[in-house]
Amino acid sequence: DYDLIIIGGGSGGLACSKEAAALGKKVMVLDYVVPTPLGTSWGLGGTCVNVGCIPKKLMHQAALLGQALQDSRKYGWQYEEQVKHNWEVMVEAIQNYIGSLNWGYRVSLREKSVTYLNSYGEFIEPHKIKATNRKGQVTYHTAETFVLATGERPRYLGIPGDKEYCITSDDLFSLPYCPGKTLVVGASYVALECAGFLAGLGLDVTVMVRSILLRGFDQEMAEKVGAYMETHGVKFIRKFVPVQASMPGRLKVTAKSTEGPEIFEEEYNTVLIAVGRDACTRNIGLETIGVKINEKNGKVPVNDEEQTNVPYVYAIGDILEGKLELTPVAIQAGRLLARRLYGGSSTKCDYINVPTTVFTPLEYGSCGLAEERAIEEYGKQNLEVYHSLFWPLEWTVPGRDNNTCYAKIICSKLDNNRVIGLHVLGPNAGEVTQGFAAAIKCGLTKELLDETIGIHPTCAEVFTTMDITKSSGQDITQRGC
């Protein structure tokens, strides 16, 4: 019936469908959200729009505004009111915005003549899927080509009480009541970002970490992110894992140390589990048509053209084995795939030097390699790492943390001091990093950075005046202007 059927209406799926339709193909998109154990569900648009990047950044902003209010008095703003935060007002405003985005996507699919089904898609035989809607009605559809873009859902802990009493990020952004005293289990960016803004809104937040923070990220930066959160009121319990959640009265969590026999017990209003996400590839009939997935994590291995082991089935987005789980990556992969399939293009998605930002209370932006990875790949003697602490000008008047914001670049001595890793911990890290990502794509070297004149007074200019190397051992503590 169709040229292309896409299973999943998130960042990747929608981008791919619109591009294919623009190239004149007959396209169908299926999107279906299986409700969480608590019954939470959402509309078209995928994780990013509904329970990811968008609400996350808005809540992060809400927390930053709280901090800004505190700073404002130092800048001369005078007001008597005790400022407090209303969770319900914030959630309603954010959910209203998301509702308009859901509708916008429906309209844009309609305008591009893409057929949209709010149904759960499963393969029943080669080239054919079964689509089941919320009311249980079933329809069947065939296509020449298929794209899997089903994304992921939060993983639970597998301990007694986890699904009954705990929530995940899927529930947090539309939670109709304020979470109150919260335990966040996990040390992923989801865990730290959520813990960060909840604390910023004035809640009592504890983070329970099994081992390291932000696995996969530069660990020096990860520890600094955690240290800032701890200085600003977030409690950390390290090297413990929860073993039970129960509700004898209030919600009680029992946890065990990973290193000894100690037990920890505490009561919370809310427990947010953020220990990872699992690909939604298990129950969509992939076995029926022979698509291989990684049995351990459900991810789909693909070649550099996003093709699975079955030639007419492709995959994009978070479900890909070994690729970055980011919205812009999924969108780019989706668009380029459509262009290669139907537009005669041969451009493949470039997964190298993709910039990212973690929106913790002190934001961390990076592009390129973590220091550990660089050392592994190039050897310590072939690298030069420049670094600097900095004090954002806006923080001076209110007397906020000095010698806390930090920036470093990792350069390859084998290649003209090419910048192979750039990391910044400071306000507006995302805005700062974006431009440098383009420079890195153009082959940025230390010399070019030095030749670039900084914009003053900004945080980003720190990258244009980095002189001190790690190898020199010199002190980077800032004194005065």
């Binding site: 608590l38 939470t40 959910q95 209203n96 915005y97 509702g99 308009s100 859901n102 509708w103």
Partner: protein
């Protein structure tokens, strides 16, 4: 722990004061056919959404002006998330979108907020 409130399927709005019988919520496609398309009286259709701020302002304002027309015109409210097919059929992209319908045909329309005088003029034109 309370799940996110699902859309209420068959909830009837009681319009403010005199608006009681001149305003109703469309229940489904059949209802729309019966009470809007096949209505001998002219009907204004208010396409709105729960997440739309301006809709919350226009809705009551339009209801009030409709109530002032002594039953010469009725008002149907359609939630575009609950009745997407209808919204698609009538080419609604932004909300609020208000259609003026007479004998099953769309004779007038506007998108966005209008003040009371503008609404009065819109309704008077529809009644004829």
């Amino acid at each position: 722990l309370v799940p996110r409130a699902p859309p209420a399927p068959y909830h009837r709005t009681i319009g403010t004061s005199a608006g009681c019988r001149s305003t109703f919520n469309v229940q489904d496609d059949r209802d729309f056919q019966d009470r809007v398309v096949n209505n001998p009286k002219p009907v204004v259709v208010d396409f709105h959404a729960r997440w739309c701020g301006p809709c919350k302002i226009l809705g009551p304002r339009l209801e009030k002006m409709v109530a002032k027309q002594d039953g010469k015109v009725l008002m149907a409210k359609v939630d575009i998330d609950d009745h997407t097919d209808l919204a698609v059929e009538y080419e609604v992209s932004a909300v609020p979108t208000v259609l003026a319908m007479k004998n099953g045909d769309v004779v007038d329309k506007f998108v966005g907020i209008k003040d009371e005088d503008q609404l009065e003029a819109f309704l008077k034109k529809l009644i004829g």
